[in-house]
Subunit: 136 residues, 2 copies
DNA sequence: ATCTCACTTTAGAACCGTTCTAAACAGGCG
DNA sequence: CGCCTGTTTAGAACGGTTCTAAAGTGAGAT
């Protein structure tokens, strides 16, 4: 797992440093969509001397190198997403939490037939409330 | 048309003032998705003494009263959308321009069947380039 | 016509997330 | 060791937005 992280960095042309590994260890493994400030808080627990600037530098580098995405889903601060495969998003309006929705679980038709637009990428952004218990 | 604007404000419980009408005249009629700063620039052309704070106040009031939406589509600054009906969005990656895509022109299936999520609203966010001339 | 009072507008400060700056640091190599 | 390149750091700067506190406006009351 730690070797996986290291390999991911090297595969994407990122020189590994202690700080970058600490950031990667959290942000490449989480299923959250954390903000830079959340990454800073979490990483600082195991790496208390890391600076905020390094967290921002590292996250931006990871986006540039394709390890992370920064989908524009919220008004406020940027969120980072280690899931770089195509997928959709569900935003829980109660908690603000962002959940991944598998690409195959939603079907979108007629996009390629749209007049006037060459669509190269798309996603469905859903809002609502997370269901407490599944309706039988 | 000017009476339409006035009526829209009154219908949504907004006390009309000269400043609010000037903002409404532009932002409720445009097909753009302008930022607050763009609204400020445009309104100032016909109303040069309006203040930035009033533009922000007014836009936020209009969102609160349901005259505008503020969809989270871009990383940077908030954009305002006078189209309050359900619709999708296409973002031109060349220019950054945001275009409305009619609700009926895209079909989305299986949303209601999603496990774990009660979806109350959704939209498709597309990216690509605006087609220069329609392919025959 | 003047007074009153609630609402609106205003300039500028404050705020907050992010980027920039410039100096310190690290470490591989000659 | 000294050099060089890349990384980290604290804090300043920045840009968009909100807040503050004072001034303005205007519809009704007197
Ligand atoms: Mn990758
Ligand atoms: Mn309405
Ligand atoms: Zn995601
Ligand atoms: Zn729109």
């Amino acid at each position: 797992m730690n070797e996986d992280i290291l390999k991911a960095l090297l595969d994407h042309g990122v020189q590994p440093s202690a700080q970058r590994l600490a950031v990667a260890r959290y942000v490449l493994a989480t299923h959250d969509h954390p903000t830079a400030d959340r990454v800073f808080s979490v990483v600082r627990e195991s790496f208390p001397w890391i600076s905020r600037a390094t967290v921002y530098n590292t996250l931006n580098l990871f986006v540039e190198k394709g390890l992370l995405r920064a989908p524009a889903l919220t008004g406020g601060s940027v969120v980072f997403d280690p899931n770089t495969a195509r997928h959709h998003h569900f935003i829980d309006e109660k908690s603000g939490a962002i959940h991944d929705v598998p690409w195959e679980s939603v079907e979108v038709c007629n996009i390629e037939a749209l007049e006037g637009f060459d669509v190269t990428d798309f996603q469905v952004v859903m809002r609502g409330v997370k269901r407490r218990r599944r309706r039988t």
